[in-house]
Symmetry: C2
Subunit: 435 residues, 2 copies
């Protein structure tokens, strides 16, 4: 990716830190060097091999072709967190926020939490389609096979499907770990099943079967996603690269007390990407330290969207000056250009915008914001995305995933587990069992 | 509102703090006691009189009836920040996230920032409607009349309108300050114009012409919004009330070093409400102190949505334990109930959910999360919304607005201005002028 990455934090890493990163890079390289066909997935770092695994694309494409024969009108992705955030991020980035409003086929819907209002609306829409003899495809995604929200939504939607399709089993694709109870059920019912490599965790799984099946099904070029991700892996393993520099910038800022890391993205349709990143960071870093569980890593990811949030939280960032390090993401070249025509009847309103393009306005706001951050001496980094396309997104998301592994090492936490998530699950289960 | 507000922070306010709040309450009472018809809007606190101003509803309703005669297919709200966040919040809360997907009439679209990709999609959709002889109505909302994003979008969309409607001026409603350049333009062009009371700032304006016109136009009961808001004003002015208790809880936590305030809402369709609150807090509190500009108020609002973010940032909140105070919002009674049928073929998946309602699952997750927060000794408050309806939303949003005034007093900042937002505007203007 031709990326401008201008790191303002210029601290030189100490010997100790350089050593930590060399160590981590060696582990990554070892994992990477093992790649062959079929890929090996025997370490926590295994996700870096996913984009090199041609068997995934092959498997996924085969099922896509098979299910396309059913002339599907709508795809419903049932999954939560790591099981749907990456898919949602890439879909919104490439197809925009008004994709369904344009009556594109297949339309796509997401069912993540168990909100009765949202679910009621979704059921109404889907039932209406089924009544009109349109076909829907359910893709249920859960690594463990036991996520309560996902199973709840699946129960509700499978029941709807059964009402209208005698051969309903053809209209389901399950994505889960091999031998999970869901996998066993799918085998027993003769339902199509995709398996996620066991050691590829939810938040690192977007380029596996988890993301590629639904994305490929709605026509996104999944090969280009992989190409971008592959190039990012190779770049991240070079000595002194932008991924390491980015991780160091965040880490140094955190050591200096900037405990909030704000991803400030200047593109509406990348809000989903921001939410994906927030999960990646929150679950990877926010936990007790490996060798000192009394101490915690509290680096807190937040998300702002430009220019909307200039009218929302920028007063706080520039006036309150909270302990925030910012990573700006800008778009170098938009896929669309819209010109503001000159119009005499409107000149009294604002004469600086007439004759310009909307793209120029957006750029001016972006660079105006950065100038204001500089004047207030805020610490930040800039990522310029050359264009919003499959290659760039593959590159950027893979970069962030590897950066998180480096940050895990720097912060002295295990970036692959999420032990405290079990706390609420345990309490929820207790309530459900006694209800 | 029958609200359970269980404040865990139990610190007793000191004499000094009690005095501060008494002082602020007196100002609010004085503003409130002045209410008469027409309402007086001569202080910064004036927004508390808005829900008592029957002339607003009257004016707005007259224009709604007039414009409904044009058989409008789609309403486009053009505005950013305080000009659209409240409208978006209430629309999403009541109509749900899949309103447009259900082909309801009028459909509603929002144009806030100047994102070329989003705008291109919006233009395609609207042009398609216009070509098919469907009518659209533009509601441009900007208090100052000069917001660059809003004027850019207005230029682009008015041009589209002109292409298809000879009498395009009928299809525009302007909402702005009296005598702004936009107001003067509207008068000159003979375009319908609604005026916002000058001292009612953007983030406090949702129950004025700003929010009521678009909300009333799409069929939301704006009288009930006002009733709820009125009851909240009256409750907030009583001695020792929940609004003051809530403000004190947040303030005490902030004094104890909990600089992040997370609004954790357990309802998908209230994400917009959370974004509205984030703006309300960010712009009201994040700034230099009144009598000591070297010191800043850094209280940082964040937003989490349950149960989605249990799979995202809850690991951080429960494992990293960042300095976060949480306000939970739960729904006491959902407007919809969905039952999970018992199904033998699915029993191998999860037998604790069969036969339950989706509502019970959502409740179990909500209370399970609170139990986990308690076990990790996190500080939090709970707001239970009796139901998602106009009255509750009016009550809750007005409560939050008054709470922000009390917080401004406690934190020693002016909760009504946003001086540092000018910093980026100045830089953007410089770039646009020299481009």
């Amino acid at each position: 990716m031709k990326s401008i990455s201008s790191t303002i934090t210029t601290k030189k890493p100490t010997k100790k830190i350089t050593h930590l990163l060399t160590e981590e890079q060696k582990i990554l390289q070892a994992t990477f060097d093992l790649r062959e066909t079929p890929q090996k997935y025997d370490t926590d770092y295994a996700s870096i091999n996913v984009p090199f695994d041609e068997s995934i694309i092959k498997k996924v494409k085969k099922i896509i072709i098979e299910k396309q024969k059913l002339s599907i009108d709508s795809l419903v992705v049932i999954g939560i967190g790591g099981s749907n955030l990456g898919t949602l991020a890439i879909h919104q980035a490439l197809n925009g926020l008004l994709y369904n409003d344009q009556n594109k086929i297949p339309s796509i819907y997401f069912a993540d939490t168990t909100d009765p209002h949202y679910l009621t609306q979704l059921i109404t829409i889907l039932e209406n389609k089924l009544k009109n003899h349109k076909n829907i495809l359910l893709n249920i995604v859960t690594k463990s096979g036991s996520t309560v929200e996902t199973l709840t939504n699946f129960h509700i939607l499978i029941e709807l499907l059964k009402k209208y399709q005698l051969d309903y089993k053809k209209y389901i694709v399950v994505t889960t770990d091999q031998n999970s109870s869901l996998d066993q059920w799918a085998q027993h019912e003769d339902i199509t099943c995709l398996h996620v490599p066991a050691l590829v965790g939810g938040r690192y799984s977007v380029f596996s079967e988890v993301g590629l099946f639904p994305l490929g099904f709605i026509g996104i070029d999944i090969e280009h996603l992989h190409t971008g991700a592959r190039d990012a892996v190779e770049a991240a393993l070079k000595k002194e690269n932008d991924v390491i520099k980015g991780a160091l910038a965040i880490y140094h800022a955190y050591q200096d007390g900037l405990i909030i890391h704000d991803l400030f993205i200047f593109a509406l349709e990348l809000e989903g990407l921001g939410k994906w990143y927030r999960q990646l960071s929150g679950e990877s870093l926010g936990k007790p330290l490996k060798d000192n569980p009394q101490t915690r890593c509290i680096l807190t990811p937040t998300l702002s969207i430009g220019s909307v949030d200039l009218h929302s939280v920028t007063q706080l960032y520039l006036g309150g000056l909270p302990p925030t390090f910012t990573t700006f993401i800008g778009i170098q070249q938009w896929n669309k250009t819209i010109k503001i025509q000159k119009d005499k009847t409107l000149t009294s309103l604002n004469n600086t915008i007439q004759g310009k393009t909307v793209n120029e306005i957006m750029d001016a706001i972006f660079y105006g914001t950065i100038a204001a951050y500089k004047k207030q001496k805020k610490q930040f980094t800039i990522f310029m995305l050359p264009q919003i396309n499959e290659y760039s997104l593959g590159y950027l998301m893979q970069t962030f995933m590897i950066q998180m592994m480096y940050l895990g090492k720097l912060c002295n936490v295990n970036p692959f587990n999420q032990p405290q998530v079990e706390l609420y699950k345990k309490e929820t289960k207790r309530i459900l069992t006694h209800a």
